[in-house]
């Protein structure tokens, strides 16, 4: 019962936005639809498809190399290839822009190497659709990589072994067997890339690419038309659900059932000479450009500016960000645990259906959720406000909207899935029939959760907590919209500095975000590589 209420509460913002389609269209909307909407659609689709295609090439290719071939450094690349996921796309965008800038290290190096060029200032503009595609693919390909590698190692391993026994080479097996069998995994990974691209606000804004998300912000803050923003958000929601539906449809059609999951390593194809060098290069390039180069640059900038930036105020910012992320993560994990356990008790198909739906919050872009949270909270505030005024005679102002509470609520809506899936998988894996055994021994549901569920789920709960923590820490669009006045987090702080052309100063906060993300991502990859949405 309470689980049903929780899931419903988490669904309110999304329903609010969905309802926006039905509301009468204002004048602004008509204007937007005539002028910029086709552009938003085209840019968003091109950007998503481009990044997605490139991410599949990089992700599936490198996954095959480390899963099925032996070459120097393979063990290292196995985990290093997930690292770029820890670099937020907006950080990567302004880092590269800063590097290639007239005063950036690249041009400085060129000028010092070729003195004849010393008076020429190359005007390299890091902006536009092509660059955005490169940057998104560069930091998001690990979604495809992780899914593809799991598929190669687990689901299709016997088929791969059979192909090998039948005399196929590494390349032949890859194209004839591994890729077709991994298709569901590739699509799952690729749809995560698409969802992340659609969610992004910071990178596209910085690169001057006008997508839906930037459109929502512009309609709202630029034109001050909440209604138009809601309609744009609803439009975006429609695209997201189309992506999810496509992903689900192809998943249902898959005919390959996973074979027994053994951790026996696949006997690798041994690469020698040029082939081995090529493999090393193919794996090194994504790690280099997606992680090492931007992190090295950020490190350099941070070293230059830390003396000025890292002061008491910065430490306060750090503490505040961590506390906020921890609070949101705790709440989200508790909610996920309640819903997952209620779904598992399974008395009501209603709760199970709701749970499946609530998990979709992760697919909904932060800007959409922000819009959806503001509307009901605004109404709630007005109601509360007039109640308080009636009793005390004093108008209290905003009670929930524009406070940290609203922010935490929105985080829970968006990141429920990040906590729910590992918790659910933990129940599946660790509890199998054990909670039923406990019930049969006369222990009621809540006591069963305490005596059997919690002790066995410790690992899964900790993992879920870390994942949500890191995601909240680097969340940008949601925070930008819903944060209280003058309230900064590491993410908004870094983004604001970068937007003000103070990229070097922003490096300190960005490095903290990446440093928090790296262990979480490596740990998650090892713990439950497949259970991220």
């Amino acid at each position: 019962m309470s689980a049903a209420l929780i899931t419903l509460a988490l669904w309110v913002p999304i329903l609010m936005v969905a309802r926006g389609v039905l509301a009468p269209a204002g004048e602004t909307w008509a204007h937007l639809a005539r002028t910029v909407l086709p552009g938003y659609v085209a840019t968003s689709v091109l950007l998503a498809l481009g990044a997605c295609a490139l991410a599949i090439v990089v992700g599936a290719g490198t996954a095959w190399l480390v899963a099925a071939c032996a070459f120097p450094g393979r063990r290292f690349f196995e985990w290093a290839l997930v690292l770029p996921l820890s670099v937020p796309a907006y950080v990567a965008a302004y880092t590269y822009a800063g590097m290639l800038d007239v005063a950036g290290p690249v041009q400085l190096a060129i000028r010092s190497l070729f003195p004849s060029l010393a008076d020429r200032f190359l005007h390299v503009q890091v902006a536009g659709l092509g660059v955005a595609i490169l940057i998104f693919a560069g930091v998001l390909y690990p979604y495809v990589y992780v899914a593809a590698r799991m598929s190669f190692l687990r689901q299709s391993r016997t088929a791969l072994e059979a192909s090998r026994v039948l005399g196929r080479s590494a390349a032949g097996t890859f194209f004839r067997v591994a890729l077709p069998l991994a298709r569901p995994a590739l699509v799952a990974g690729a749809s995560l890339v698409v969802l992340e691209v659609l969610n992004d606000y910071g990178a596209v804004k910085y690169l001057g690419v006008t997508t839906f998300t930037t459109g929502i912000f512009r309609a709202w803050f630029g034109l001050g038309d909440l209604n138009a923003a809601i309609r744009l958000a609803a439009f975006l929601l429609l695209i997201v659900f189309a992506v999810l539906t496509l992903e689900r449809m192809q998943r249902d059609r898959r005919s390959v059932s996973p074979s027994a999951e053994t951790e026996r390593p696949l006997e690798p194809y041994r690469l020698r000479g040029w082939a081995a060098a090529g493999a090393v290069a193919a794996c090194a390039v994504p790690v280099l450009f997606g992680f090492l180069i931007p992190v090295a640059q950020l490190g350099y900038w941070a070293a230059l500016t830390a003396g000025r930036v890292v002061n008491a105020e910065f430490l306060l910012l750090l503490a505040r960000s961590f506390a906020l992320a921890l609070g949101a993560a705790l709440l989200t994990v508790v909610l996920a645990l309640v819903i997952a356990y209620a779904a598992r008790l399974g008395r009501s198909a209603f709760v199970r259906g709701l749970a499946r739906v609530a998990v979709l919050g992760y697919a909904v872009p932060g800007a959409v959720i922000a819009v959806g949270v503001l509307v009901p909270l605004g109404a709630l505030d007005r109601a509360l406000g007039s109640a308080v005024q009636a009793i005390t005679g004093v108008a209290p102002g905003l009670l929930i909207g524009g406070t940290v509470l609203a922010l935490i609520y929105a985080y829970a809506v968006r990141y429920l899935a990040v906590a729910y899936l590992p918790v659910e998988a933990g129940f599946e894996r660790e509890c199998r029939g054990l909670d039923e055994a406990s019930r049969c021994l006369g222990v009621p549901p809540l006591a069963t959760l305490r005596r059997v569920g919690l002790p066995l789920l410790r690992g899964a709960l900790a993992g879920a907590l870390i994942l949500v923590f890191v995601d909240v820490l680097k969340e940008l669009p949601l925070t930008l919209v819903l944060r209280p006045f003058d309230f900064d987090t590491l993410a908004t702080h870094a983004y604001q500095l970068a937007s003000d052309e103070r990229v070097a100063e922003s490096a300190n906060a960005a490095l903290v975000l990446i440093a928090a993300g790296v262990p979480a991502i490596i740990g998650a990859n090892r713990l439950f590589g497949r259970s991220r949405p």
């Binding site: 054990l434 039923e436 019930r439 049969c440 021994l441 006369g442 222990v443 066995l456």
Partner: protein, 362 residues
């Protein structure tokens, strides 16, 4: 006294196109051990889960110890049914010791009393020495007994066992089965146990209930059911067998394996289907009594040879049967031998008065 009564129990899982159980009615007397037998998908495990309260039936009533725990309108949750369930994979809590596992269901008992009860049950299953171990430190047979002790500890009014022997290796099984049987007898608990083969049924159960396609197909003492299987499905559940047609004539049965005295179950019928176990076919040299048969195939098995034979005489008709013979016989394909049925070695398939059964499918 009736300890457990099922009335018209029906279960259809959401999205399934047929009932997992349909209209199962059964009474189990206090202290009785009933074996549930049936092919895979027959509904055995579903039945146990319904009784335990882990699933809600689509229709029907469950009465445990005179208390209605489930009918169309309400369903008592599993923790308040007082039913013990031993899971197929034991479902021992990996984070608890043997002692804590066994005491898990005794949470309403005062501490001292609980400790006594745990010791008592561990003694019953012979595991007192292992009380401090964790499940992963135990062998399969020991885990099995811990699971049984845990289920018995709260003194359930009904004990359910789901394929208790399926996870044990063949060498361990007979000894453990006899041990479990004696534990169950000494505990005196009303028990419903899902079992796989006929030997389990015979050594454990007072009565056997056979499920087929979700319905209760035949119920009776193992000996009765073995001697008079309702149809070839039941005959096959009791181990590999030869099903042959026979004609009743002047007090004898004309079978493809020669004449046999008519068993009471065949009296009053024209033709019957017989079940003849491979061990009940005797093979002799060409001078011995019996009908001639040609050896078609000989397969080596552990402890015996399995011989496929083709008979064919104008008087008795032809059939292909399988016999099990001591390995010393050294038959080769093409040999001609004489075969006959061991006296008393036929079972008439089909219930008396049920009319002629359909021709057996092989």
């Amino acid at each position: 006294m009736t300890a457990l009564e099922l009335r018209g129990l029906t279960k259809r899982y959401p999205g399934a196109d047929r009932d997992a159980l349909r209209g199962v009615s059964l009474r189990v007397e206090a202290g009785e051990i009933v074996g549930l037998v049936g092919g895979s998908g027959a509904g055995k495990s579903t039945l146990l889960r319904l009784i335990a309260g882990l699933e809600t039936p689509s229709a029907g009533t469950i009465i445990i110890g005179g208390r209605v725990v489930c009918d169309g309108t309400r369903s008592v949750p599993p923790e308040r049914r007082g039913v013990g369930l031993v899971f197929q994979d034991y479902a021992l809590f990996p984070h608890l010791t043997v002692e804590a596992n066994v005491g898990f269901g005794l949470h309403r008992m005062p501490r001292g009393r609980r400790r006594d009860r745990v010791r008592e049950v561990l003694e019953l299953v012979g595991l007192t020495d292992l009380a401090g171990r964790y499940p992963h430190q135990l062998s399969g047979g020991q885990q099995q007994r811990v699971a049984l002790a845990r289920a018995l500890a709260p003194e359930p009014s009904v004990l359910l066992l789901d394929e208790p022997f399926s996870n044990l290796d063949a060498l361990l099984k007979p000894a453990l089965r006899d041990e479990i049987a004696s534990i169950l007898r000494s505990a005196g608990t009303t028990t419903l146990v899902v079992v796989h083969d006929q030997e389990d049924v015979v050594s454990l159960a007072d009565r056997v209930a056979i499920l087929r396609d979700g319905g209760l197909w035949q119920v009776g003492a193992p000996r009765e059911v073995f001697a008079a299987p309702r149809d070839d499905y039941v005959a096959r559940l009791f181990g590999s067998t030869n099903l042959v047609r026979a004609v009743v004539e002047n007090g004898t049965l004309r079978t493809p394996l020669g004449p046999v005295a008519t068993p009471p179950a065949a009296v009053g019928r024209d033709t019957v289907t017989l079940s003849i176990r491979p061990f009940d076919i005797l093979i002799g040299a060409s001078g011995d009594p019996g009908v001639p048969a040609t050896v078609r195939r000989v397969a080596f098995r552990a402890g015996f040879d399995e011989v496929e034979l083709v008979t064919g005489t104008p008087d008795y008709g032809s059939a292909t049967v399988t016999a099990r013979v001591p390995p010393g016989l050294r038959l080769t394909p093409g040999d001609v031998v004489r075969i006959r049925i061991r006296p008393g070695g036929v079972q008439v398939v089909g219930l008396p008065g049920a009319g002629d059964p359909p021709a057996p499918t092989s």
